[in-house]
């Protein structure tokens, strides 16, 4: 076949197409849930949150609230017609506190009224009698008392005790990283609309429409087919709208059920920050045995997370943390234990990286300690411990690292920035400046792609071709700004060889693609892209048959290219062929389905191949600290990010930049501060500081690793991008440690945990000065 033109379609894969809603976003016409006009009679809702970290709920009295103007309904746990359980993994996690309130901010009751002001005013009039109980607020306390929300998890290889004893050198230590609020700019919101008979339609700002569907059905005592959940777009999510959205949607649906009216529940920012879960803070303890070259021989680690009051997604977060406690390093004898500690704080949940960042934070603390002990550069110690190719290539959980390119990625970084020279500039600066000290550090990343739980790695899509040649695409993934919709449209455009403008992606709906997984684990494009490709391929095969009959050639000779369909030098427009298929009564619609191959995971044994492949990356960052005030600035960040053969390099660059800055926030300015009564002090942007335009490094260069197609057969050989670059920001933590260590001539390991607020940096500086004096 020669006649098909070499001319490329517009917006196929590998092209930097704009976000599909870009025009809507810049003109304000893209609708978020709170912007969609509601029908008259729609009610607004407000929550009543527990003011106590731990208290028995003795009674709930709605009399005064119900008497307030405009109030239509009030509900508490006792008013739930179905099962008060929205647990995503385990069981027994109520949407409304049942009998006992377990954190400050725990939703205890909800009000629906004609206006939002009326609902919020009435919420204050609900009279709840509490019997206050003593709270458990810290990881240490929970550890001491053995309070866990899920059983301990373990990944183990070799015999770590004897291996530690046999190691020539040995160190023990501790590191901590804080939690993080998602601070999606669009807060949690849902609109529940009762339909005919028992139907309930829910519009939800959720990453997981299927879980909202299940949660609402459980709460209302309905079969799943009575509940339909739709989501067009979210104003950011980052994991915070995976399980947490179900609480909001569930309560809206309960009020809608009770009033038989549409009910909208939108949380005010302060309530959102108090009532919904965040990234898990971790306390990490380690004991490491190594040789004088810095090669790790044995490592015993404890990862203890503050899970909050219930399990939510914590078991899965812990599993991922343990599966990333190796980062890029071969650990011959290793024991990794993970504990999800129960405290009377909000239940922590998914957040971009999902335990991976904390897992890597731990091992990098170990590498940093070993390097300082031996007075070797971090890079040298790392290099001696990197997974090999064909040797030392099995992870603690028994998966062979087959696609290892970390040395190539590090070399790419070094080639771009000349680390040795950069280092000597930093040292020269530090010699000349007694007060402001600079630090430099690198960070390699290897991040596993697929949900740990094998079952979740499946996706569906639905594609229609209309008789004018335009294409309607639907899939199980949700758009939260990450560019998923445009990428999948590109995949379908490429499959049909039509310009991407002819492909329209519609709102995600449980009524169109059922039984979906959350859009999470960076896997949105990998899975939904493949499912869409499957659907498009089925339709294309039927169209090719029709074209073959029309041209009188075998179907194998039909070529789709440049918005046309070719048989030798004869051709039809794609739209003409679509119309022809319809006339010949050939279906132009298909579902598509995908399950990720090769993967398996035994959580009990902590063994398997949980990940289809790994994504790699590396960063080098420079910071400056003021040793008198503890202030810090990140001055320069240089990144190399692997994204396979990128489907959309512009989107992938944006994801890399955004993820890095989010990681930077986690480690620097974003501090969740609780008082002794378990009240969150930083529950709004005036006190909780996400990075602003002046906090990002003024020199910030991101490079996508060129010529690096995925060795696994992913969608057009691309790789996932959403989470991995977040962990590159750990370089900033290490660079700050380097700056502090410079005060002690780099001999001692600094005591610097995250987030690195000025207070923590100042304390680390003072400690370093005292110890090195």
């Amino acid at each position: 076949m020669t006649a098909a033109p070499a001319h490329r379609i517009k917006g196929g894969v590998q092209s930097p197409v704009r976000h599909e809603s870009a025009i809507g976003h810049v003109t304000g016409s893209a609708l978020y849930l709170d912007d969609v006009p509601t029908v008259p009679g729609t009610l607004e809702a407000a929550l009543v949150l527990s003011p106590h970290a731990h208290a028995r709920i003795a009674s709930v009295d709605f009399a005064r609230a119900l008497a307030a103007p405009g109030v239509r309904a009030a509900i508490a746990a006792g008013d739930i017609p179905g099962r008060n359980d929205i647990a995503p993994i385990l069981k027994g996690e109520p949407a409304l506190a049942d009998g006992v309130a377990e954190y400050v901010g725990h939703p205890v009751a909800a009000i629906a009224a004609d206006t939002l002001d009326q609902a919020r005013a009435a919420a204050k009039r609900v009279e709840i009698a509490y019997e206050v109980l003593p709270p458990v607020l810290t990881i240490e306390e929970a550890l001491e008392r053995g309070l866990l929300v899920a059983p301990e998890q373990k990944i183990e290889r070799g015999d770590v005790g004897p291996a530690l004893d046999a190691a020539p050198l040995r160190l023990a230590g501790e590191a901590r990283c804080g939690g993080q609020d998602h601070f999606y700019l669009e807060g949690q919101i849902a609109l529940a609309v009762p339909g005919e008979e028992r139907d309930m339609q829910v519009f939800s700002s959720t990453q997981h429409p299927t879980e909202v569907q299940h949660g609402v059905a459980h709460l209302l005592g309905l079969p799943f087919n009575a509940v339909t959940v739709d989501v067009r777009r979210m104003g950011g999510a980052f994991g915070g709208k995976e399980s947490q959205a179900t609480i909001i949607a569930g309560i809206a649906a309960l009020l809608a059920w009770k009033t038989r009216r549409p009910v909208k529940l939108r949380l005010a920012r302060d309530d959102d920050m108090q009532a919904t879960g965040k990234r898990h803070p971790f306390l990490i303890r380690y004991e490491v045995g190594f040789d004088p070259e810095g090669r790790i021989q044995a490592l015993d680690m404890l990862y203890a997370a503050n899970a909050g009051n219930v399990a939510d997604l914590s078991p899965a977060v812990i599993a991922r943390a343990l599966c990333h406690a190796d980062n890029c390093y071969f650990l011959p004898n290793v024991r990794l234990r993970g504990l999800a500690c129960k405290t009377n704080t909000v239940s922590n949940t998914a957040f971009r990286g999902f335990g991976g960042p904390q897992g890597m934070f731990g091992i990098e603390a170990v590498i940093d300690a070993v390097a300082r002990h031996l007075r070797l550069p971090l890079e040298t110690v790392r290099q001696r411990n990197f997974y090999g190719i064909g040797r030392n290539d099995t992870t603690p959980y028994g998966m062979k690292v087959e696609d290892n390119i970390i040395e190539r990625v590090m070399a790419e970084l070094d080639g771009a920035v000349d680390l040795a020279r950069w280092r000597s500039e930093i040292d020269a600066f530090n010699r000349a400046n007694p007060v402001v000290k600079k630090g430099l550090a690198t960070m390699p990343v290897k991040f596993g792609i697929s949900f740990n739980l094998t079952t979740l790695n499946q996706a569906g899509a639905l594609v229609h071709v209309y008789t004018d040649g335009s294409v309607h695409l639907n899939h199980g993934g949700t758009e939260m700004g990450q560019g998923l919709f445009v990428k999948i449209a590109q995949v379908v455009a490429e499959a049909f060889q039509i310009d991407v403008e002819h492909v329209r992606v519609s709102a995600t709906s449980t009524g169109k693609v059922p039984n979906t997984s959350a859009t999470a684990a960076s896997s949105g494009t990998d899975m939904n892209g493949m499912a869409a490709l499957d659907a498009a391929g089925r339709i294309k095969a039927r169209m090719a048959e029709v074209a073959a009959a029309h041209f009188g050639v075998p179907a194998g000779e039909i070529v789709f290219a440049d918005n046309r369909v070719f048989a030798g030098n004869k051709s039809l427009a794609f739209a003409e062929l679509a119309e022809m298929c319809w006339r010949r009564r050939v279906s132009l619609s298909s579902t598509g389905y995908y399950r990720t191959p090769k993967i398996h995971w035994d959580g009990q044994a902590g063994k398997g191949r949980p990940f289809y492949y790994f994504v790699y990356g590396a960063a080098a960052c420079e910071v400056a600290i003021d040793t008198l005030t503890g202030e810090m600035r990140t001055l320069r960040a240089e990144l190399v990010q692997d994204c396979g053969r990128s489907i959309n390099p512009a989107i992938d660059l944006g994801q890399t930049e955004g993820a890095f800055v989010q990681g930077l926030g986690w480690l620097t300015t974003e501090e969740l501060w609780w008082d002794r009564a378990g009240r969150l002090g930083t529950h709004g942007p005036s006190t909780y500081k996400i990075p602003g335009s002046r906090d990002v490094p003024p020199v910030f260069n991101v490079r996508l690793l060129p010529d690096a197609p995925n060795r696994e057969d992913t969608v057009f050989r691309s790789k996932a991008i959403g989470e991995p670059p977040l962990m590159l920001a750990i370089a900033v933590w290490l660079a700050a440690r380097d700056a502090v260590a410079s005060l002690g001539d780099h001999r001692l390991a600094p005591k610097l945990d995250a987030p690195m607020t000025p207070e923590r940096i100042l304390a680390a500086v003072d400690d370093m000065k005292a110890r090195s004096a």
């Binding site: 870009a22 810049v26 304000g28 669009e186 990002v696």
Partner: protein, 155 residues
Amino acid sequence: MPTVNLTVNGKAVSANVEARTLLVNLLREQLGLTGTHVGCDTSQCGACVVHVDGKSVKACTLLAVQANGSKVTTIEGLASGDKLHPMQEAFREHHGLQCGFCTPGMVMSAVCLAQNHPNLTEKDVREGLEGNLCRCTGYHNIVQAVLAGAQAMRR
């Protein structure tokens, strides 16, 4: 209830509001101009920025009655018909958006910034956008977009 008279996106508008109604609520709820977003309710995030008499203002910080007699421009009033304002075009072109929730406020702040700084520098942009939070982009592409948009506005 007090009546406010103002010009919104070139059209004269008259509305009855409560004395405590915020400008953002008037715009979103009474006038249906939902491109102006609410991200924080507490004057921190900048998602609600509009122009009041040519100045960028957080619409959740101003009472509707305070805008009485003013000319208000929202994100919906920036383009002329189908033709995007150069700043809107620059945000689109330079991928200065992801989830888009911060975008209207960013664009409105950026237009004002460009008008006030004839020779806008990267530093000016970073300082000038300090009151607008974005959780998605890391600001890199936003800064590029604002510089390009400012240049296009001068042409």
